[in-house]
């Protein structure tokens, strides 16, 4: 086991930030911690890294208890902070070299690792640039390079794509998958469900410091009753027709607003066919039709009763 957190409790005064949280991360996983802002994602990361005191619980990394002076464990961990954590006075190369040097004292060995990290994040053309001359996306890449240059076995990324443009975001996500393919175990926190769905092999959803769901994205979606969401563009739908539609088998809910009929159906087959058949029978004209599978937001909504980004 790469990380084992057992029954972790962290309080800030009266506020319970982590409420008896347990989690396990296995070797080779991309483990996603998903939750809205304030759900406890960063707090659990800081506890795992032994930066934060906690009130109760145990944390093991590489099957050994984690502590501030557990240097053998720390040597194999790479951290990418939520905010860019580099020195403004050092160039791109010097920043990566500095942080790598905290893990790898040998100068010759370090030089190769730094070059590899620069290649990996694509900052070759910017190696002599100071951070203030870099764009937001390039800065994030530098932030990542500083965390991975020493080739850690466990890489923790705490919301690395906040305030990053879509192109850089894709670049970062592809890089994370590549790191995983090269053997690193990844812990990835985010409140962007699309990112977590895209790259994570296992996802834990947090809310108010508690784990509310855990599994692969398919397993999470299987936990809820929603099967699919069907949206139909239609120009006239009377109230009694909407009521009759809601009584069709396997329909969870139906709403009509701004010429759009949105129907949520439970798991099962032929939901779309049944709805179209109803519209034809009632001579209701319709235009475009969309069908969507449930998202992690739907999972969060069904379990907590609120949107993930509330």
């Amino acid at each position: 086991m790469i990380i084992r957190v057992n029954n972790l409790v962290k309080r800030y005064g009266d506020l319970v930030a982590l409420d008896h949280l347990s989690l396990e991360v296995k070797e080779g996983e991309i483990f996603g911690l998903l939750g809205p802002n304030g759900s406890g994602k960063t707090t659990v990361i800081n506890c795992i890294l032994s930066l934060l005191k906690y009130d109760k619980g145990e944390i093991e990394i590489f099957d050994q208890p984690m502590a501030p002076d557990a240097y053998d464990i720390k040597r194999d961990i790479g951290i990418i902070m939520q905010n860019v954590a580099v020195f403004e006075e050092l160039t791109v190369y010097e920043n990566i070299d500095y942080f790598c040097g905290l893990y790898v004292p040998d100068k010759a060995k370090r030089k190769k690792l730094v070059e590899d990290a620069i290649d990996f994040v694509g900052l070759n053309d910017f190696r002599k640039f100071y951070p203030k001359k870099l764009s937001g996306g390039l800065l994030r890449r530098l932030n990542i390079a500083c965390g991975i240059a020493h080739r850690p076995k466990l890489i923790i990324l705490d919301e690395p794509t906040v305030a990053v443009d879509p192109q850089s975001r894709n670049n970062i996500l592809e890089g994370i998958v590549r790191l995983n393919r090269e053997g690193a175990t990844i812990v990835y926190t985010s409140h962007y469900m699309e990112e977590v769905e895209q790259i994570c092999t296992r996802i834990m959803i947090l809310d108010k410091g508690r784990m509310i769901a855990d599994g692969s994205k398919e397993e999470l979606k299987a936990m809820i009753t929603l099967g699919e969401k069907i949206t139909v563009e239609t120009f006239s739908l009377r109230e009694e027709q909407l009521s009759a539609l809601k009584k069709l088998p396997n329909i969870v809910s139906a709403e009509y607003r701004d010429h759009l009929l949105v129907v949520k159906s439970g798991k099962g087959q032929n939901n779309l066919e049944a709805i179209l058949d109803f519209l034809k029978r009632n001579q209701i004209t319709f235009g475009k039709i969309y069908s969507e599978l449930p998202t992690l937001n739907d999972v969060f909504l069904e379990i907590t009763g609120k949107q993930l980004r509330d």
Binding site: L51, K74, Y98, Y103, P105
Partner: protein, 379 residues
Amino acid sequence: MFQHLFTARLKCLTRDRQMMFWTLLFPLLLATFFNMAFSNLNNTEAFHPIDIAVVDNDRYRQNKDFHSVLEEVSQGEDRIFNLTKTDGEKAEKLLDDGKIKAYVTVGTEIGMTVRESGLSQNIVRAFLNSYSQTSSAVASIVRENPASVRNGLIEAVSDRGEYTREVSGSSAEPNNVLNYFYSLIAMSCLYGGFWGLKEVTDIQADLSQRAARVNVAPVHKLKIFLYNMCAAILLHFSEMLVLLAYLYFGLKIDFGSKTLFVLLTTFAGSVLGVSFGAFVSALVKKGEGVKVAVLLAVSMAGSFLAGMMSEEMKYIVAQNVPVLSYLNPVNLLTDALYSLYYYDIMTRYGWNMAAVCAFALLFCLGSYFMIRRQKYASL
């Protein structure tokens, strides 16, 4: 590891332009301004001969004794007066034009005319009084005992022998201007606190994300802090050497003959300043702006009380609140430097340095106890 962290830290510090300005250029600029402002201060305090006139009439010419005495004190480098002989009308005009402070008229009595009162006029009056009293005493004695002239009366009266002996504690001349420059050096030492402040900010995970990243590395944070402090002290001491060189070679400020001790004092001041900044940063649990404000307030208040803005303040504090003199690091350093310049014996310097070292030790230990924790209650 030491070389890697130390050189990287030196790069970080030397490339911080804002801090380099405050810790290096600002003291140099201030020293230049001080030099411009105080260069004539010693000259104004030195004694300058007083411009007077004497009405050159028959009575004056006949009064051989007064004539010769006045001529004598108006000659040579140590003269008291710049004497102009003229007639009464011209003397009046010279006085009106402010070209002389007073003019002397010899009649039945010796008189003095002035337009205003002041130190110069008092000196002229004291001289004339002294002459009148002495000549009157001689006249009385000769009247009573004419033989006394033969027995050396005139020589005895003329002899201005001193009956007290002046013993100086120093071979150096007192120099009030030096205190301004020494307090500037002391203030610059305290400005090393900016570097100390930065060091704590960059090692405390609850103060910066950079520090959090350093804290998760497999190196003891106090080891990194120690290496970083070494870089900060080396840089700040180098800045202080530049300042000393500028003061000594550029502005010709006198530091006395104990050069090695001046360097030692400056080094101790650097350590004190950097450790003071680290202590303030660890102690004040507010934003960086508040920490800088505290540092500046203490440095400036300390400099003021040590006499950097007005030299009298140093003596006011010493007379009225002496304990403050020993609690003010700027004053301790200023006094240590002045002791090196002025006193031949090292007792006073020793006490000052002991207090400086005690403060540096206190700040180092205080900082250590505050930042030694490795886990934080909140980030």
